[in-house]
């Protein structure tokens, strides 16, 4: 796959507030890339810079190898699906979808055909003459998609397009988006704060916080091998603890030694202070005394597919472990907790504030 878009050393400030602190992103052709982060992390600003609605203070944007930093938005070969759809309220659905085509001066019979094709693609056949106000939120979302894709852009920018929909519809649209992406064969750049959306749809996830890229990789890499506490905490449920490398392949957490698979060969030398991530579903529950440490179940919630439990271990430090298990264990009972070495993710301590977890759960 060839590189289609490259953002190089982009910086952007609003007054005192530095929103983007030297961002470099490379996007391949036909990739589904998600910019993921909490609000205010700079993901929307990045998208707006790509769309041409904001100018970066420094850095440049390459599109197909050409510098488009100073090209205005109406001459960039990309289209945006806006957060609140930004449909033109005084026009019909058909006129909305036709807008970009008419701007290009396409003749009316071709426009009609294209609009029909666009609406069919988003399952809104025959809605041409409806008013925007007569469409539901989900339908408006689809109209916005159709309006963007009939222009056959090389890249589609999507700014939290599912944010205003209810859960069921949101899940449905996730499948729709992936289908559309495959059908159209174009590049999608997707902005969201919803980690589930990011994991389900993307080829590549770029996690951002405070104007910096924290990690980029496939959804699996981001989930299984987060590089710092922020990424670990932002994506999925997690137990994040402070630890110290005892020797290669052994980490001490709260006075208890856990075998792991990291060591000095990948930058975690003995004696190093580290952060340790253990996903709640990776904590196996054994009879008391049969695990690495014993803990007492302090609370239990039925979540639907599994039980979510908290367990207090009788070790140094006061840490409550978050467990997810298909079996239910009574509150007050003692259990043994065990983690496979490959399920322990060792991370470097945060060097800057934005690499820290935003809040440690529980």
């Amino acid at each position: 796959m060839a590189e289609l878009i490259r953002l190089e050393n982009i910086r952007k400030s609003y007054g005192e507030n530095e929103v983007l602190k030297n961002i470099t992103i490379s996007i391949q052709e036909k990739e589904f890339v998600t910019l993921l982060g909490p609000s205010g992390c700079g993901k929307t600003t990045t998208l707006r810079i790509l769309g041409g609605f904001e100018n970066p203070d420094s850095g440049r944007i390459l599109f197909d190898g050409k510098d488009i930093t100073n090209v205005p938005s109406n001459r960039r070969n990309l289209n945006t699906v806006f957060q609140n759809y930004a449909l033109f309220p005084h026009m019909t659905v058909g006129d909305n979808v036709a807008f970009g085509l008419r701007v290009k001066g396409m003749n009316e019979s071709d426009v009609k055909e294209k609009v029909h094709y666009g609406l069919k693609l988003v399952n809104l056949e025959g809605y041409e003459n409806r008013k925007i106000s007569q469409m539901s939120g989900g339908q408006q979302q689809r109209v916005a998609m159709a309006r963007a894709i009939v222009n056959e852009p090389k890249v589609l920018l999507l700014d939290e397009p599912l944010g205003a929909l209810d859960l069921k519809l949101r899940q449905e649209m996730q499948y729709e988006l992936v289908r559309l992406k495959h059908e159209l064969g174009i590049t999608f750049i997707y902005v969201t704060h919803d980690q589930e959306e990011a994991l389900t749809m993307s080829d590549k996830v770029i996690v951002m916080n405070s104007g910096r890229i924290q990690q980029e990789g496939t959804p699996e890499e981001i989930y299984n091998e987060p590089e710092n506490a922020f990424v670990a905490d932002f994506i999925g449920d997690s137990n994040i603890l402070s630890g110290k490398m005892v020797r290669n392949h052994l980490v001490r957490i709260n006075g208890v030694d856990f075998p792991c698979i990291d060591g000095s060969e990948n930058g975690f030398a003995p004696g190093l202070d580290v952060d340790v991530l253990i996903r709640p579903e990776d904590l196996e529950i054994h009879p008391a005394g049969k695990g690495i440490l014993d803990a007492k179940i302090t609370s239990k919630l039925f979540i639907g597919m599994h039980y979510e439990m908290l367990a207090q271990a009788d070790t140094e430090g006061d840490f409550e472990w978050l467990l997810q298990n298909y079996d239910s264990y009574e509150v007050g009972s003692m259990v043994g907790l065990y983690v496979r070495p490959e399920n322990i993710q060792i991370m470097h301590k945060p060097k800057t504030q934005e690499e820290e977890a935003i809040e440690i759960d529980i």
Binding site: S73, N79, H90
Partner: protein, 259 residues
């Protein structure tokens, strides 16, 4: 019983509101010049009205000034709103504050101030000075009615149009202007009625020999008001009534089709 008093209350309110106008209409058909005795039905004052150069001149002045002032104020005001929208938040606050002051200011102060400025710059008072003054006091009302339509959603629509390849001018005409239109229309109508209504500012900024309806009636009061002015007032009231009915009827019709 309760219903009876309720209805009575409404009738009393209606009488207070419309009895004076009704009196005026009745007197406009009175043959005698008297303000208190109705002698015989006649259309003579209507005839006199349409033959009086003074009255017809005042009518033309009033409506031409109102139309021009409303038109120009609407254009300037709308452009101001677009300009303000592109400014920093703090500048916007200051400008909107400045915009409110002329509306709160007493008309008589505005009137005298305008007159003094015209005289100071050696502009002789006449039709144009009235027109300038009316444009001046209408602009803030236009800004006030158009500005709420120019919000973040409108900005996004503009961006969406640019995103679809439209030039800035095309995006403005096709997307932003239709959004502003209800505000522009109400700004225009507001300016138009304010201009027709105005007496004080017109009084101070008009030159000798030029009259609008309000200043004409005022000057007639001093020499004894003629019933032809009742006729004029009746005609103006009826025109306003018809316009109001048409507008309301249209609104109702639109609501029915939308529903």
């Amino acid at each position: 019983m309760k219903k009876f008093f309720g209805n009575l209350y409404i009738v009393i309110i209606m009488l207070f509101l419309y009895l004076p106008i009704l009196t005026l209409i009745v007197l406009s058909f009175n043959e005698a010049k008297s303000m208190s005795v109705f002698t015989r039905f006649s259309l003579k004052w209507y005839g006199e009205m349409f033959h009086s150069k003074l009255i017809l001149g005042a009518l033309v002045n009033t409506f031409s000034i109102a139309l021009l002032a409303a038109l120009i104020a609407t254009i300037i005001g709308t452009m101001a709103v677009i300009g303000i929208d592109g400014m920093k938040q703090s500048t916007q606050m200051v400008l909107m504050g400045c915009n409110n002051i002329p509306m709160l200011n007493a008309d008589i102060v505005t009137g005298i101030a305008l007159m003094l400025s015209f005289l100071m710059f050696g502009i002789s008072l006449g039709y144009c000075t009235i027109l300038f003054s009316h444009i001046t006091f209408c602009i803030p009302y236009v800004i006030l009615s158009v500005r709420p339509r120019m919000n973040k959603a409108t900005d996004t629509l503009f961006e969406a149009a640019l995103d679809l390849g439209a030039s800035r001018g095309y995006a403005f005409r096709k997307v932003v202007l239709p959004e502003l239109l209800p505000g522009i229309a109400s700004g225009f109508l507001l300016s138009f009625t304010m201009s027709i209504d105005d007496f004080i500012i017109t009084h101070f900024t008009r030159g000798a020999g030029i009259n609008t309806i309000s200043t004409l009636i005022y000057s007639e009061v001093k020499i004894g008001i003629r019933p032809s002015l009742y006729a004029l007032s009746t005609v103006i009231f009826l025109i306003a009534l018809v316009v109001l009915l048409v507008v309301n009827w249209n609104n109702i019709k639109n609501e029915r089709t939308a529903a």
